[in-house]
Symmetry: C2
Subunit: 251 residues, 2 copies
DNA sequence: GTTATTCTGTGCGATATATGAACAAATGTC
DNA sequence: GACATTTGTTCATATATCGCACAGAATAAC
């Protein structure tokens, strides 16, 4: 790609939109400039552009994103067959299991939720499509990383901030890569309170008709309610069933 | 705002992203140019920029958005208190009702889903945060339009393509404005298969502590399962309860 | 109330981008 | 296989944007 094939004004604008996610919903020009590392004048032009187009509100002092911005993510969610295809199956799965069911894909070091059917709230954090979690300590993340060649998974781990969210969290890259091998062999991953105390989850890959892993689905349950050791017995059959149903539908 | 306070490269790029929503997930340069009405060379630069930043994949022929694009919508969903506050209450509501519960806000002539707890699939279309429906024939849309002054609601109706999705759909602006008055008086709206045959729903406004309507929540049910006339009796009490709980939490 | 600091808005030269035409490659048509 | 269309890419140049520096307004500090 040549230098001139890059629209830096566009790239800067996207960076400005993302700046909103990290802090509060209202940003002044100076705050946005600090968060993005861009020049104030540039940020101001981007924000005024967003406001002009209706993607942001401006009260003369602060800018705030409007729901119109959801059109951008929606362009992906509705245009990509995956979320639309998976959602109804998650609804069924969730109802059958009596627990929350989710689907996600990998984006860099994180998993991104693309669909979700919540039965009850088991996590302190609130998940919705677009939400992100570190891959290394989430059941779907384990499954997705396990689907990659070892060196790629290692490279992602190397770029990850491997922090111990709970006493259970595995943070040793060597141990994690060994875990990926286990996951690859078994075809599922179980997380026992590695992300948050009190939360267990089990995930399986979603494969397309050529056997490539294109996403992961999981069921999460409160540890108080379901022991980690029971997860497979209870939920693996229905996860496998959903997995099997989805497979011929993909690509 | 001055001419130079508008970054047209940014605006064009956003338009290109939205072009994906309308058709398939893969777009060639020429297709994107046709959909956006922009020059091929310009669209090409925008698409290459998206690819360079990881928001799109490029196989040398077609571009497709990647899940990274969800960061943009997520910037709104996580930064805005409304979706994050409402979601857990929707989960509860949905579980209690045994039906899907959703929350939405108004964006132009459409409602935009900002949170959703699906119990089972009752609609042919698949809803998720960011999904949009025409306001005039959706229960939450009725509630949101009813919260506006008559002339504003009328102005929105004037810009709406008032089509009869089913034999039940109300499409006469005069009738609709009268309906808004009724909704305002009763404090809730019921839709009896106006959007889709077989689907009923009931919505109430979500007000902040100053009594301003900031969103709407609803419960949808299959008409075969729940008569429209029973909707209020069955679900209004729990909607009111959620409404009451949310009120002091907002702003 | 004064000073210091931070912020927003503007003008300008340097730099980057958009445009439409031109061309080559790919695709479709007969 | 030749012709017509469509598509992707490149180029020159007219136009728009960027980042800087500065002025004035708004806050904050004292």
């Amino acid at each position: 790609m040549r230098e001139t094939d890059f629209v830096s004004g566009f790239a800067r604008g996207l960076k400005v939109i993302e700046a909103f996610g990290e802090t509060r919903q209202r940003l002044s020009i100076a705050e946005a400039a600090r968060l993005t590392g861009l020049d104030r004048a540039t940020v101001r032009r981007s924000l005024l552009t967003l406001a002009e187009l209706g993607y942001a509100d401006y009260d003369g002092k602060f800018f705030a994103l409007t729901p119109k911005i959801l059109r951008l993510g929606h362009a992906y969610l509705s245009a990509t067959p995956l979320p639309v295809l998976i959602q109804p199956h998650l609804d069924q799965l969730s109802e059958k299991a009596g627990q929350s069911a989710s689907a996600s894909v990998l984006d860099g070091t994180e998993i991104v939720y693309i669909a979700r059917a919540s039965q009850r709230r088991v996590m302190s954090i609130n998940l919705m499509p677009g939400s992100r979690l570190p891959a290394y300590c989430a059941s779907m993340g384990r499954v997705l990383l396990a689907s990659l060649p070892d060196n790629e998974a290692r490279s992602i781990l190397a770029r990850t901030d491997l922090r111990a969210n709970t006493p259970n969290t595995k943070t040793d890259p060597v141990e994690l890569v060994a875990e990926f091998r286990r996951v690859r062999e078994l075809g599922y991953a179980i997380i026992d309170q590695e992300l948050e105390v009190g939360l267990c989850s089990i995930a399986v890959p979603v494969e397309n008709d050529r056997g490539q892993t294109v996403a992961a689905i999981n069921i999460g349950a409160p540890a108080a309610h379901v022991q980690a050791s029971e997860m497979a017995q209870r939920y693996l059959p229905m996860l496998r069933e959903t997995q099997k149903t989805l497979r011929p539908m993909l690509r």
